[in-house]
């Protein structure tokens, strides 16, 4: 039997871990949130005469092309060079998935083998040879809650933060989130087949900033902690599950839908997937403190966050999610049905993700001081 990570909570409560383990084989998870560290590799094909692209723009958004002649990487948060902050790489990716034509401009210095110095044309998902999402950091295991103690509205990647703790925002599907259901990454590892943006994708590597050092409560980290690098074909994706996000006065980001099935190996695994929002905690950080080491104001549970308000300094503060629980549910449900029908096969990881990893800060040091 297959169930979602939300449905299983009640089953375990009613039947107990032992019985649930015997009855349920797979539990599906889902998340749909802003994941800035996302982007796509594209291959344009060769023009006549050919060009070794040195600079590339897609709908006026710069892409990185310090690779072979016609390969490029379009990052989700890249914005137009004219300073327009409301259109970026995330929009280009969404337009490609939607099947829309995208304007391509490239310049080059010209070589004996690649004489062309400039090209302007249109490409689409049909003309591109390869177009795959490769996101270096997605599906954060947990994430801090943002609030603002200053007397000004702040525009951040955690959304619009109203003055004087006017609101608090969070970004996790909580009890449905993939890595919160497999906190030690026993089943999720390199090569794990996943739902990615509507397509079948894979875990490519540990995500950047992967850390195993976060404090835990009830067996799950109460900080960012683990992350995933994921890969999948843009051609199979849907704009229902990949969406450009515009954080005004911050920049662009990409909402990515990810779902991961978790095989119930044993009772321990069942215990993990039955975790509910009231047992998952996140720290509340004051984003008006412009420092990497903000002291948490307090820790709150996802049950409190999802209730609509939390208490801060004796005051009721309204909460908002940046992660769509509606979509997370849709993804977990879709994945459940695919696994049930046998359309989606589970995989054993080829290699486990790191069991001991520290997330280092960046220090400003001299050549002699650097470790």
């Amino acid at each position: 039997m297959v169930m979602t990570a939300e449905e299983i909570i009640d089953v375990v409560r009613r039947k107990g871990v032992e019985k649930a383990t015997r009855e349920v084989d797979v539990v599906t998870t889902g998340t749909f949130g802003a994941m800035c560290s996302s982007g796509a590799f594209l291959n344009f094909g060769h023009s006549e005469p050919p060009i070794k692209m040195q600079k590339v723009w897609l709908n006026d958004v710069p892409a990185y092309t310090g690779l072979a002649a016609v390969d490029a990487y379009i990052g989700a948060t890249e914005i137009r060079e004219n300073g327009d902050m409301d259109y970026g790489g995330a929009n280009v990716i969404e337009e490609l998935i939607a099947g829309n034509p995208v304007h391509l401009k490239a310049t080059a210095y010209g070589t004996d083998c690649y004489p062309r110095r400039k090209i302007e044309t249109y490409v689409s998902l049909k003309t591109l040879n390869q177009a795959y999402l490769y996101n270096p950091r997605n599906a954060y295991q947990n994430y801090a809650v943002a609030t603002n103690s200053s007397d000004m509205t702040l525009f951040t990647y955690m959304g619009k933060l109203l003055p004087n703790h006017g609101n608090a925002t969070f970004c996790s599907a909580g009890q449905l989130s993939p890595l919160l259901n497999d906190p030690q990454c026993r089943t999720i590892g390199i090569g794990t087949r996943i739902f990615l943006g509507g397509a079948v994708g894979y875990v490519a590597w540990e995500g950047t900033q992967f850390s195993t050092k976060a404090p835990t409560k009830n067996g799950v980290p109460t900080r960012g902690s683990r992350t995933l690098a994921v890969i999948g074909d843009l051609r199979e994706m849907s704009t229902d599950y990949v969406r450009a996000l515009d954080f005004r006065r911050y920049g662009m980001s990409l909402a990515v839908g990810i779902g991961i099935p978790i095989p119930i190996l044993d009772e321990q695994m069942m215990k993990c997937v039955s975790i509910s929002d009231k047992d998952i905690f996140a720290p509340v950080l004051d984003y008006s403190v412009q420092s990497r080491s903000r002291k948490p104001l307090k820790e709150v549970s996802y049950a409190e966050l999802k209730s609509g308000s939390i208490e801060l300094f004796g005051k009721k503060v309204k909460t908002s999610s940046l992660s769509s629980y509606y979509k997370a549910r849709q993804i977990a449900e879709k994945l459940k049905q695919s696994v049930q029908k046998g359309d989606f096969l589970l995989t054993e990881p080829i290699k486990r993700l790191p069991e001991d990893r520290t997330f280092n800060p960046l220090e400003i040091v001299s050549k002699e001081e650097v470790k």
């Binding site: 802003a34 609101n167 925002t169 450009a244 909402a255 940046l322 629980y325 509606y326």
Partner: protein
């Protein structure tokens, strides 16, 4: 029975010095909440919510029209693009009038335009850009 309606009033430059709205309030016993006001070269614009007996509101509006005010009844100041909305819920804590409701069964966000006070705070808060300004 009291009713509540929203109107966008346009005043020609020659009318902006007359206390027309004040007279309407006095004469027809209406409660008025000013949501937005602006005076420019093209005249004045006033976005108001009127509360009162329906018949009095009708008479009040008639009075405004007689005074040469351009009156437009508004049902929506902003609108939510259902195709763009991902139901994340960012808008929920931004709106001072609680016009956005997160249904805790379906986890869908619903926009109640009758509660909207036209502040516009949601417009630059919505990450997928689903909230659009309809007027002003």
């Amino acid at each position: 029975m009291m009713a509540k309606r929203k109107y966008l009033l346009g005043f020609s430059p020659t009318r902006v010095r007359e206390p027309i709205t004040y007279r309407m309030v006095k004469e027809f016993d209406l409660m008025l909440n000013i949501l937005r006001a602006e005076v420019s070269e093209r005249g004045g614009r006033l976005l108001i919510e009127i509360e009162g007996k329906p018949s009095k509101i009708t008479s009040g509006v008639k009075y405004l029209k007689e005074k040469g005010v351009d009156v437009k009844e508004l049902n929506e100041y902003v609108s939510k693009d259902e195709e763009r909305c991902t139901h994340c819920g960012m808008c929920v804590s931004i709106c001072p009038a609680d016009a956005f409701e997160l249904d805790r069964k379906t986890y869908k966000v619903h926009f109640k335009s009758d509660k909207c006070i036209a502040c516009g705070l949601c417009l630059d808060a919505c990450p997928p850009d689903a909230m659009k300004l309809r007027i002003w």
